[in-house]
Structure formats: C-alpha cells, structure tokens
Amino acid sequence: MQVKAGGGPAADSECLMEPALEYHAPESLERAVAMLAEEPGAGALLGGGTDLVAALKCGLLRVRRLVSLRAVPAHREIARTADGGLRIGAFATLHAVAGAAAVRAACPALAEAAAQTASPALRNRATLGGNACIDTRCWYYNQSARWRAHRAPCLKAGGERCYANQGENRCVALFSADTPAALVACGARVTLRGPRGERTQPLENLYSGDGLTPLVKDPAEIVTGIELPAAPAGSGSAYEKWRERDSIEFPVVGAAAYLRLGPGGEVAEARIVLTGVGPGPLRLGGTEAALAGRAAPDEADREIADAVSRSLGVLYLAEAVPHKRRVAGVCVAAAVARAAAAARAARSAA
C-alpha cells in the first residue's frame, strides 16, 4: 500500500487481520465468482494483495473469506488485437504492463502511469485489474486502527460523519490510482465476469462518483481484462504525475492526455482525465472542448494550465486546495504538450 494521496502513513503496523479468515484459492474463475457470490459482501478478492492486505492489516476491511486468484492461470497476457488495439489480462502485474513493448508502443500514457505506480517491489505483485478497482482513500480513513480509535468512525468506516468535508457530510475519499486515468483517456473498455456472465463496457462507467462505494459492480464480479482500441493515425498520449517524492507515493494529482490531430495539426479530438481529485477518474470535458479545433501546443501551455486550475470544482482535501488546483493545471498542460508531440511524431512516421 502506498501511503499518501489523501492517506497519511499509518502510525504502526499492528496487524488486525481476523485470525479466522478463510482462504480459498480456486483453480477457475467460475469457481472464484461462485465463492464470492455465495455470501455477498462477506468475501474479498485477493489478487496481488498490495492494497487488500494493507487494508486488512489496518482493520479497514471486515470480510470472512479471501478468494485468491493465485491458482487461476489465465488473464495475465498482454497482446495486440487483430484490429491493432491492445488486450491486457487484468491479472497482469503493473511491472509487466509498464515493461511490455506492445503497451509502450500502443498506449504510452498507460506504460508511463504503470511505471510510476508505487515501487518496483509493489509493481511485481500489484495487478492492472486491482489498480482499476482500488478503493478510494482519505487522510481520515487510511490510518491504523490505533490512529482512528481517537475519534468516532468516519462515513467510509461506517460512522456518521465525514471529517474531511464537514460542510456537506458526504464521503469525499479520493480515487488515486494512476493507470485508470491513462486507460480512460485512451478509451479503454473493461471486461467483468460475474454470477450473471460476462460484460464489457467503457472503463469510465465502472466508477460511481461516490467515495463510499467507488465502483459500479456486483461484489462477486471480477475484472478480467482491459481492451484498448487501436490508436488512430496522428494520435498520441501521455501521463504526468505529481507526488510528494518520486517513488512509492500515490499522486497528489495525475493527468492523462490523449490527442488526435487533424491534417493541419489542429486538435481533432482530446480526452483529458485527472486522478487524485475526486472519487473516480475525472474527465475534463470543458478542457477537451476548449482544445478541439485549436493548434496542438508545442509546449506546456500556461493558458491550459490556468483554465484547468480555474475549472476544478470544490475540492475537499488535506493538501492545500489552491496548490492542488495549480498542480492539476500544470500536469494537464504538460501531458497535453507531450501527447501532442507524440501525435505529431506518429503522423510523420505514418
């Protein structure tokens, strides 16, 4: 588990895992789904475990049963699809995603986001599917039980008040994973297998916008794969991450940009997505619309940065809000400039 992004370091590593927790390692996905469905909410899926085990240790997750994917061999491959897109098994590690030549070529933003997630040792265990489904985080929630014991539980911990957002009293825990921002910007679709079969939908629709329950899915549904469409000619993507130190940490802000350029070098299509600023990956529709039709910037554009900073709605955060707004703008402007450069290079190579 990383320690920042609206979640300060836990003060101790006292392990609160329930000693009677059942552990199962079924050999098929179907069996894993069935085990999770037997008693909805009582089980948790164990993939790489880097976030789940930390949450269990801190007493943040009360489940009776762990269903491990250890013995399920499939859904780890990374391959180009027949139409030039990319299919990534959800159980592929972030190390594998960051290092795959196919990912670096087809979706640089994803390779950059995966390479900047957590630390090398965590990336050797953490999976892409797990990163897409990671829980939202908050300074008042991602703490050891001892730290949290000093006040009544917050909304996310089953209590009645939010300490981060005392005005409206709704959970504002932040979604802080890096790879989903890049994936949403590049038009990823996600495949889930559940008790009622398999479904594939835009990844963007997986996120509820609610800090308490950030995912729109049945608890027994398992993310099995991510698919990216073929990158059209003259398109490019980039991911920019700002964090308090250049390793381990979740982002204060992460920004992914996807641009497709028209014949005259103007922006024909833009998708800009932030992470670390809301309960899910946040698409900046206003910025996307403002970029469309404009000449793609050669370098990080101050106007874009300022417009993004101004456009961000109310933020309830432990980090200073004006600072976070400013960083978001700077990250978007830098990501847009690098995506534009990649798009121009792709067009001249075509």
């Binding site: 588990m1 590593s13 552990y23 930390a54 269990l56 491990s68 050797n124």
Partner: protein, 158 residues
C-alpha cells in the same frame, strides 16, 4: 486454524504450520528463524521486508505466506553462493554502505535482482530499482556506490 504449507526458501523445502492470514515476513522470521527480512512499516512503504519471489523483489509484509506456496523464495540468508558472499554483499562491505543495517537486506536483494536482470545498469536504473527501499542512515550515497561497484566488478573482475 493452522495448516501445513510447503515453502521453498533458499533452495530448501520447509513444511510450516501457518494460518491463512499469516504474513510471509512473520513466517520467515518466526517459524523459520530467518530474521534477515525486517518488519518495518508493514504497509509496503519502506522495503525492509524485501525478499525475492521467483527472482523478483517483493514486499513480504504484504504477502500472505500461503500465497508463496509453489514459489522460489530467496531471503538475504540464501543470497551467498558456495564460494562466498554475493558480489552485491561484498560491494556493500567495501563501500561502507551499511550503517544501522535495518534496510540492508532489502537493499541488497533489490540490487541483486537488478544486476541479475540488467548487469550494467545506468544511474537512473539503479535509483529506480532501489526506489522502494528506504534508508534513514546513509543518505544513499554509499549504497549507490556499492551497486555501481558490484556492476563494474562484474564487468571487469580485476
């Protein structure tokens, strides 16, 4: 309830009685007496518990022991070869890259895994490979010296 699991550690197979919730670092330290891997933050943020799982560094504080069944686990105790210390261990001694020593097993294993994969890493690659391992004593300078030294020793053994 405890059950017997088979762990392969440093080339030896051990039958260990473990609960499903037992964490790998605790089983290594308490059941097998391999105290090289340290308990640090317990949350994957310091790297003191680093061990190699199938050749790759992993935080053993975030891995259930039962998840390591079927894997090749290497701890600092198993890194030295028949002919003596691993070159990275030797380089840490020669560079004076150890102060309190708490981070050292994790640092050495992360560096050894790096040099196994990339025998001649550039500076950025070395820093990246050690970026999940925190040292509060050395300031990292001597540690980086040691890894560079191990790499150049491998290139030019004289």
């Amino acid at each position: 309830m405890k059950q017997l699991i088979e762990l392969k550690v440093n080339g030896q197979t051990h039958d260990v009685a473990a609960r499903p919730t037992d964490i790998l670092v605790d089983v290594l330290r308490e059941a097998l007496g391999l105290t090289g891997a340290k308990r640090g933050c317990g949350l994957g943020a310091c790297g003191a518990c680093t061990v190699l799982i199938d050749g790759r560094p992993v935080n053993s504080c975030l891995m259930l022991a039962v998840e390591a069944v079927g894997c090749e686990i290497v701890t600092i105790e198993g890194l030295r070869g028949a002919s003596g210390l691993h070159p990275v261990q030797q380089a840490f001694i020669e560079a004076g890259a150890v102060q309190c020593g708490y981070c050292t097993p994790g640092m050495v294993l992360a560096a050894a895994a790096l040099l196994e994969e990339c025998p001649q890493p550039d500076e950025a690659r070395i820093r990246e490979a050690l970026s999940g391992n925190v040292c509060r004593c050395t300031g990292y300078v001597k540690i980086l010296d040691a890894v560079r030294g191990a790499a150049s020793r491998a290139k030019d053994p004289a």
